[in-house]
Symmetry: C2
């Protein structure tokens, strides 16, 4: 969101690509753009028995920190609040890559994996910053359109921070890469581009007719058009 | 894909919802529909040090089994082939729920979590079934349009199976649920529906002009229109 830097992140044992290394990327501008434009992420952690759990959730980046949030009563949030290892993966699916063989078929995508240790945010100012960033992440400007959070609402919420220090992006773009023997056959190959679009906003039934669609929603419609 | 059953799955310690229980669902028809219509999933597992890793990948369901695949050289596939616990999460994002407060704001979604022990598929017939299902998962009919996989391609691929025995769906639909005190304020609230669309297919540069867009791609265009 803010204070974006474009320093390259170090390549670690976990983020180094062993295969298809041309798809790997460690520069912060690429990583940040993927994070900032994805509505949701999938966060992985282990349960009390060490077994993996993956949940979809909204995220927001503020500078070098990725924030997650949820109900203070949530099992996942309580577990992460304990300071465990997490992996937060953010994926944009950009297209189906239709090759001349099943084997060469693929997808175009942009994804980021962030590895780190979850930190429960307890400083009230940082909690407020994180919660505002999460609202603004999908609805830019919304914080200025709604009332502030109440103390009760803040108490019912847990915020988790993840330092953006060990992360990598992986990106595939472009045409299928077919086997040389398959070229020249009368089989169609190419890419079917995919994107997320927003349809016309549906007002809640209790919204008065003279209340206009706000700027934040207009912004979403412009982004996902 | 095939042989879909609609039996309810048992509620386990891992799949039981503690909160928002009205969003939980254990019936196979709901679970199967979410799995079958999502192009990708996010699979979580632990690395050699017990730390979580989450990767995006294509999946396919055949009856009571979820299949994943990848390069035989991939770290993730080699790790899963060892029969470890995995959690495969499949998410459709259906809309932004714009409430009159940040706290009540939400998203509409349909998601499934499948928990289980990964099984490396070694039976050649099951490998063939799984690989065909994975191609057909996003491109229905494509198997009949391309040549069969070669022995070399099959040897270069690992297929992982996950029994669909411990799984649950979580679904949120509809309007924001605002605090009573926020109703009647001149703040817009509602839902911005989201969906994935396909744009015009882009033929690879080496496809002859007289090769038509195949039925499988036409099917994708009809699905993501």
């Amino acid at each position: 969101m803010t204070d974006s830097r474009t320093t390259d992140l170090p390549v670690t044992e976990r983020t180094r690509l062993r295969r298809e290394t041309e798809r790997g990327c460690f520069d912060r501008s690429t990583i940040d753009a993927i994070i900032d434009t994805a509505p949701i992420c999938h966060v992985g952690f282990t349960d009390d028995d060490g077994r993996p759990v993956v949940i979809p959730t909204i995220h927001a980046r503020v500078g070098d920190t990725l924030y997650l949030h949820g109900s203070a009563a949530s099992r996942a949030l309580r577990r992460m609040a304990g300071g465990i290892d997490v992996c937060c993966t953010i994926t944009h699916l950009d297209g189906f890559v239709v090759a001349r063989s099943g084997f060469a078929s693929s997808m175009n995508y942009r994804s980021v994996m962030v590895f780190g240790t979850a930190r429960l945010v307890t400083d009230p100012a940082e909690v407020a910053t994180a919660l505002a960033a999460i609202v603004e992440h999908v609805l830019p400007g919304r914080k200025g359109e709604v009332r502030p959070d109440t103390a009760k609402e803040i108490a019912a919420t847990k915020v988790i921070a993840l330092a953006l220090t060990e992360a990598s992006a992986k990106v595939r773009t472009g045409d299928p890469v077919d086997e040389p023997d398959d070229l020249g056959t009368p089989v169609w190959a190419g890419v079917v581009p995919l994107r997320m679009v927003a349809d016309a906003p549906q007002p809640a039934p209790d919204v008065a007719d003279d209340v206009p669609v706000p700027a934040s929603v207009q912004q979403v419609l412009a982004t996902f058009r």
